[in-house]
Symmetry: D2
Subunit: 340 residues, 4 copies
Amino acid sequence: MSLGIAVIGTGKMGADHVRRIHRTTSGAHVAAVADPDEARAKEAAAGIDCAVHTDPAAALSAPGVDAVLVASPGPAHEATLLAAFDRGLPVLCEKPLTPDAAGAARIVAAEQRLGRRLVQVGFMRRYDSEYVRLKALLDGGSLGRPLMLHCRHRNASSPSFFTTEMLVNDSVVHEVDATRWLLGQEITAVTVLRPAPSSYAPPALADPQLVLFETDGGAVVDVEIFVNCGFGYQVRCEAVCERGSAEIGTGQEHALTVQSAVDGRGRRGGEIPPDYVVRFADAYDRQVQAWVDATHEGRVEGPGAWDGYAAAAVSEAGVRAQRTGERVPVLLRERPALYA
Amino acid sequence: MSLGIAVIGTGKMGADHVRRIHRTTSGAHVAAVADPDEARAKEAAAGIDCAVHTDPAAALSAPGVDAVLVASPGPAHEATLLAAFDRGLPVLCEKPLTPDAAGAARIVAAEQRLGRRLVQVGFMRRYDSEYVRLKALLDGGSLGRPLMLHCRHRNASSPSFFTTEMLVNDSVVHEVDATRWLLGQEITAVTVLRPAPSSYAPPALADPQLVLFETDGGAVVDVEIFVNCGFGYQVRCEAVCERGSAEIGTGQEHALTVQSAVDGRGRRGGEIPPDYVVRFADAYDRQVQAWVDATHEGRVEGPGAWDGYAAAAVSEAGVRAQRTGERVPVLLRERPALYA
Amino acid sequence: MSLGIAVIGTGKMGADHVRRIHRTTSGAHVAAVADPDEARAKEAAAGIDCAVHTDPAAALSAPGVDAVLVASPGPAHEATLLAAFDRGLPVLCEKPLTPDAAGAARIVAAEQRLGRRLVQVGFMRRYDSEYVRLKALLDGGSLGRPLMLHCRHRNASSPSFFTTEMLVNDSVVHEVDATRWLLGQEITAVTVLRPAPSSYAPPALADPQLVLFETDGGAVVDVEIFVNCGFGYQVRCEAVCERGSAEIGTGQEHALTVQSAVDGRGRRGGEIPPDYVVRFADAYDRQVQAWVDATHEGRVEGPGAWDGYAAAAVSEAGVRAQRTGERVPVLLRERPALYA
Amino acid sequence: MSLGIAVIGTGKMGADHVRRIHRTTSGAHVAAVADPDEARAKEAAAGIDCAVHTDPAAALSAPGVDAVLVASPGPAHEATLLAAFDRGLPVLCEKPLTPDAAGAARIVAAEQRLGRRLVQVGFMRRYDSEYVRLKALLDGGSLGRPLMLHCRHRNASSPSFFTTEMLVNDSVVHEVDATRWLLGQEITAVTVLRPAPSSYAPPALADPQLVLFETDGGAVVDVEIFVNCGFGYQVRCEAVCERGSAEIGTGQEHALTVQSAVDGRGRRGGEIPPDYVVRFADAYDRQVQAWVDATHEGRVEGPGAWDGYAAAAVSEAGVRAQRTGERVPVLLRERPALYA
């Protein structure tokens, strides 16, 4: 029994999901696509036997739709999620769950009313093999309790629409989720230090920054966010524990030794992936496959609405910390029993 | 349209392929399984809606069978391959294509009579991401012509049935194919040097060995084969080219820094995978997916019958080189136009 | 002409300097030693033709003394330095120059009165080959302006007398000097974050900590100080610049691949040095040789009294930041022209 | 008591030794220099209070000469060594001891007549910290018996006078000594495989080559010698043992991450030293210091005349193996008791 999926939003990310479900995912097929831009929707669906709509609601009610993958812009998520809830459809929703914590809290409330969870949020790092092994290592306990995480999040360059706030709520939000997941702790405060910006960053962008988290388990996390580093996409995390340290993101497949055309010196080293599509290609594949497998079995797993809410709340505190230069506490609502 | 696959042989490797096709591969399903041990066949097929046979021929003619995956013992391959040819079924055949070069030559002859290729041989390293990138790098030409390959092929320990000959024809055969594929050259001579065996190897096993290839393109290849190295499964390859060197198999995902319980010293490093199942998990998945995708499109790609024949011929020379201590030339038949 | 050196203080560090000057340094010899513990002084001087005193002043006036190496406890430095100044003797003074910023300011004032510099402070990292190359790389400008430094300073375990304050003023003080030297900037503020301490640290010790510097050039520096990490002595520094990043302290001489006796897994990696004596052995040798060479030529180079003062001032701010949890500004005096 | 050293030969290597003894070595000074080119001798001795001669014999008998460092061309070594023996002077002789095995055998015979050893041969790798630790590791026994060594010896480019024979008797001779020393075994046979030469090597040079040693302890050693690799000077050695593998030469001090100006890709890696002067700078310093220290104590240690002879004998077999393409046995004389 193949799972029929409606893909809502066929921009870059949505079109990639359409391709993935059609070509890579086992046990699922694209049953419908929706995009306000009909031409774009048709292009994404080319060669696939599926319904094509401009209205998300129409796609949700297309024949053979068993589940929904939401890849539309963040402000459109809430309406689609609620519509999917009305139909009892499981949803894999790209991050952010909603643009702000208040919206995310409404999704949490909606699931509470339903009495069950339907949403998985697309924090795909939880499916990356390096992160998975780091999590297993920390949970295994051989290194003792984690004390600090040192994170680096670097992009070669930022798109033209990128704002200083997005350093936190679009980029560092991945470290927010990774921190919460790896440590099993909530973030209680955020501080941001801003060095003099790189002269290669766009004039209005305060890039890079050092974002600091404190957690309710007593851990301290520092995140370098640098979205115009020039050399590629590099995501690193070192977990410093009581009895040892574990790092991901510093390894490489190839070691290439060549003479540099720049300075004539020989160097031996590995390549940095150009972007997140390359770096997390397998994570995206595994995320969707895991969601499909869980859905077949009637389960919901992975990061849920509560995680989407917490990430949004920390992001909001982070943006205030950016603006004020102060340490900003994170005030989360009570965690409902549904997400215990 | 999902491709119906008959899996012939449900031992460890075959059962794993059944699971893979059922759970991981997109666009395919298990249509039939066959194993002389009916209980084992049924166990592999548990929970899957497919035919179960003890006779390979019966499985090939089961309803809905569009293609065949052969994972039975090597001596049984030839009969199954010829039966599949009679039905015009595409085949993915685990290595070795046949146990000896003469048998492989008969498969080549059979495809020539058919006038088309139907077989892909399961040299899965060609689908490993590290090998794929090394191949692309060499083909790209930026490093100049490859001059030497330095290969390491290490297993933690060898199974009880392993023989000295198998160091070459079961293990190094992967480097035979990798050499031919990476360089696009044929191997013309084999020499084997045998150090005093490790005291941790079984008494009858001359382990490790250094196997040397010369190619018709003037390259020299050395392969350390060591099947009782103790520490894990490690496959490395350094391609030394005119303008630089590229290595695979030395990287790692994690860098773990811990104090050793043995000598009290701290070390920082990465983990060695325990076995080929872990090391080449993705390569197996990609191999089967690529074969399914190509079959859907009516193509045959990847290593074919000629590659299976050449690997067998080099292996036979290698075993003679082991026994005699001499440099043994490899004498290949003329390569048929079908495999140009 | 060999330089006659009086070594003041023959504890662990001083005795090591006596051995170094006697056996390793070219162009110098030990002319006198002094230690309140006469037996210890004699033991350090065993086999060396030199004067042995319990009084530092007596050692300074011993025949053939051309220069002084101060390795006594910090509180004793000021008197010895002023006595050496009276005699116009060049001094290499182990860090700290003095225990507090006020004392260091008095040394600065004394040199100003002399109208020339006589003191080099023993910040030996400036002579470590890794740091030297990092400094050259940053100064070379190919990476653009440095934006952040990420530092790790880890000891296997702390001695019994170690206090929480010493995490900053005894350990992180090395990063204070390294930051000032690498960037050529003054540190303007310190913040300290304290995770829940490791359960392997002594009960009274708040270990580890994350110490943050801001500089007058707009750089941000984070320093993990962890003096009970268990696995060895590890000093790392990553300089994140506008056009690339450079790391030191992650390399290794050996890559050892062995099966772990703990978990049975194979790992490939390099050894962490056990302590600073091993890690910085060459740096100590080079520091003393460079000081001897400069003294022969009538020059004073390396970190001077001003650097000792600035390090003390930042350390004092750091200790306040530890205690208060606040961001503490560093208020330096005007830098005298002598140290321009 | 400072050791007075006569440096014979003030070409590049000899002049460097003069500088080293004058500036770096503790407990020694340059007492005399000799070079047929008087201007060159004077230039090397500039600023040093020492005798300057054109005749080696005159330098040996200059006042205050206690020991000799021979850095003249190989053909001149024998006469100088015998003259030093006549005076009972300890000698540190740059490699090769003599240009051929017959000459080296005469040096061995001369020491036997003296009844004591006076010569140390300049195989400086034995003083390199990486090699020293590898040797200690192998001797420590934790890895079991060494089975194979995989060696790489690469130069950026070869000087104009370099010949194919010199790949073996000038370059690989270092691996000959390293193999004998690391394993404590004699080399019994040499085989050479010659790939099609790099198009970047001079036309007459068969570069690179793969040189294979067999030892009397049953080990197998492969050495890639590539003197026009383009990217730098790289000396690597992996010792594959029964219970693990240890590699040197793959580490690095810096990890630099930058975007390549060639292909626009980011890479993280370490620098390859440009030449042996940089790579083995410390080894040369330590070699001379160890020789001076041993001489002070009346000891001779390090590689001696027998090692020089054995290296010459293996080199001669290696050159024959190059020419014939055959496996060439090494026939050593009986090892005299003096070198037991």
